[in-house]
């Protein structure tokens, strides 16, 4: 169960090697001992390191083999988790090379399958779980890239737009069933995923995203931007005419 101050007993990380997912688990582990984490990720060194990192924070960790592209397996994987899933963090995703993404059909397709199709199949499985357990929070890591497509990464942006719409709607569907969805829209996050890229304005960190998520879950919020000022910025950018928008350094 999640207690009155938003502290869970059991967190499921989908895409468990994601820096943001791990930072969220660590933030909860810091609230008190006894956190159980199920870390669903592709087997390998990255996952082993993540397990070790959470062990060191006092978490009881179970690793599960998770392949985002194997969408048919998602239902059984989530149904097979025994403990109540108090918080599920949907954190897997690919950024991809933005130019390949719109010129190479294989890259485009992979981005769509991992970021959108995989997110939906896990989302449906999580929703089924929440319906039977009568409670639970899904933290869905969206992106401001989905709010207004940009020339620089619109394929990624389009998958996140679909992701965002799905989880926003899922939050409405689960309201009456005890579930809650928190859609998180970070700006540029300095992490493994963005390594080597030039940080965009208002760049943030996985720790800052984690802190914002912990507060938002405690306060029952359904949608946040990280940093918070990004909400105002994006609200403005949505209304900038395209002729001007394409000239902006964003």
């Amino acid at each position: 169960m999640i207690n009155a101050l938003g502290t869970p007993q059991h967190v499921l990380l989908l895409g468990g090697t994601s820096d943001i997912a791990l930072a969220i688990a660590e933030a909860y582990a810091a609230q008190g001992p006894g956190l159980t984490v199920t870390l669903a990720a592709r087997a390998g060194e990255g996952r082993d390191a993540a397990v070790g990192q959470l062990h060191a924070r006092g978490c009881a960790v179970t690793a599960l083999d998770f392949e985002a592209l194997d969408t048919a397996s998602h239902g059984a994987l989530i149904a097979g988790i025994e403990d109540d899933i108090d918080i599920a963090v949907v954190a897997f995703g690919l950024l991809g090379d933005p130019e390949e993404a719109w010129t190479d059909v294989h890259v485009a397709r992979e981005l769509a399958e991992v970021n959108y199709v995989g997110a939906i199949t896990t989302g449906v499985a999580l929703a089924a779980r929440i319906r039977t357990q009568g409670h639970g929070v899904i933290v869905a890591l969206s992106s401001v890239a989905g709010e207004r497509p940009r020339r620089s990464n619109f394929v990624y942006g389009s998958t996140k737009a679909g992701f965002d719409a799905f989880y926003t709607g899922l939050g409405e569907a689960l309201r009456e069933l005890g579930g809650r969805v928190l859609v998180v829209r970070p700006g540029f996050v300095r992490s493994k995923m963005t390594k080597g890229l030039e940080p965009a304005p208002l760049a943030t960190t996985p720790e800052a995203v984690a802190e914002a998520v912990v507060s938002a879950v405690r306060d029952g919020k359904e949608q946040i931007w990280v940093p918070g000022t990004m909400r105002v910025v994006m609200s403005g950018l949505r209304h900038v005419p395209r002729a001007i928008f394409r000239r902006l350094p964003v």
């Binding site: 101050l5 938003g6 009568g134």
Partner: protein
Amino acid sequence: MNESLTGWGGTSASTARVERPADLEALRNELRAVGDRGVITRGLGRSYGDPAQNAGGTVLDLTEWDSILDIDTRAPSVRVQSGISLDRLLRALLPLGLWLPVVPGTRHVTVGGAIAADVHGKNHHVDGSFGNHVSSFDILLASGDTVTATPDGNDAELFWATVGGMGLTGVVLEATIRLKEVETSYFVVDTRRARNLAEVLAALETGDDSYTYSVAWFDTATTGDSLGRGVVMRGNTAPREALDPEKRRSALEFAAPQRGRVPVELPVGLVNRFTARGFNALWYATAPRHRTHEIQDITQFFHPLDIIGDWNRVYGPKGFCQYQFVVPSGEEAAFTTIVETIARSGHVSSLNVLKRFGPGNRAPLSFPMAGWTLAVDLPVRAGLATLLNHLDQIVLAAGGRVYLAKDSRTSAAAIARMYPRIDEFRTARARFDPTSTFRSDLSRRLDL
């Protein structure tokens, strides 16, 4: 029907199928049909946290099972169905010159809930908790059998596991409660201000024996020399001759007006550091320095909060935590440290109650023990988890515990240490409900 439920603190909502069985057969059918998420009974929802919630399972609302079955004016005692509220029961008993032996801070709890939480009142130092005055109850077990349990009979283990057992042993259907005789529904009250916590404790330590009812309100926002300044309020039931002639004519009337309610759920809370600080200062400033032999009615003396219906709504949608703990006598230093920690934390409570408890009873999960108890209401905001986890550690080190009827945030590990007899409870639960038919969000959260 699926309903989203919370406790009185308005936190940690979860959804359950709420059933209102009309009779015993329907109730048995509910137990038979229960799925792997289990079932729990809910009364009037005054527990602050999650004991009357059962996410994904069944919640039994038995508040319509509220008949008075028999009043024995000679014993005196009353036999009731468990869904009756103490409010309704008191209204029926008073004209007969009878009174419940234990009345908690609100009358809007059921008899079933009062047993499940083993509630206490301002007279704990004299009369103990609710379970001490229950002479027997009928309980429906997971098996579908109904058992009559008494404190010293063959089913004493079941009796004491159920007292304070948070509804996890079965469904109490009917109970017999021993009563007190009273001449009036009024109280003769002495009130005095105390300049700091040490004075409050000293007053309660020395003078309590002359009063059946005793409690102190204190300020959680002041530090230094006036740390824990408070108002000590103590009284006894008023004899007829203490009343003026006008009140004497209606001596046994139930004088408990409700003067309003918070009508809607507010978009934001009205309680914050600033309003709570102001409220604290005002309460202290308007309390009499020392006043004796004042006649007060039930609501004034017993249930000032019951004057406003749904008062929990002032905390807004994020809700609040009530933190109530007890530390044993002799641990006044730990007690003072906790008050100091709260005062310095920046989290301000406006409803702060302090009381000296008498000895506890035989129930393994009963909260009271001889010592000092304190309750504070803290709005949910950043940093509260850290503060309360820290207070848990001080309480644990002092050999104390938090109250399950109030808790909404402690950990299973802390509870196991706070209730050293928890295994007695678990053994009894395993015996009377081997498949854990009775479950709640609280039992899942705290691994009871």
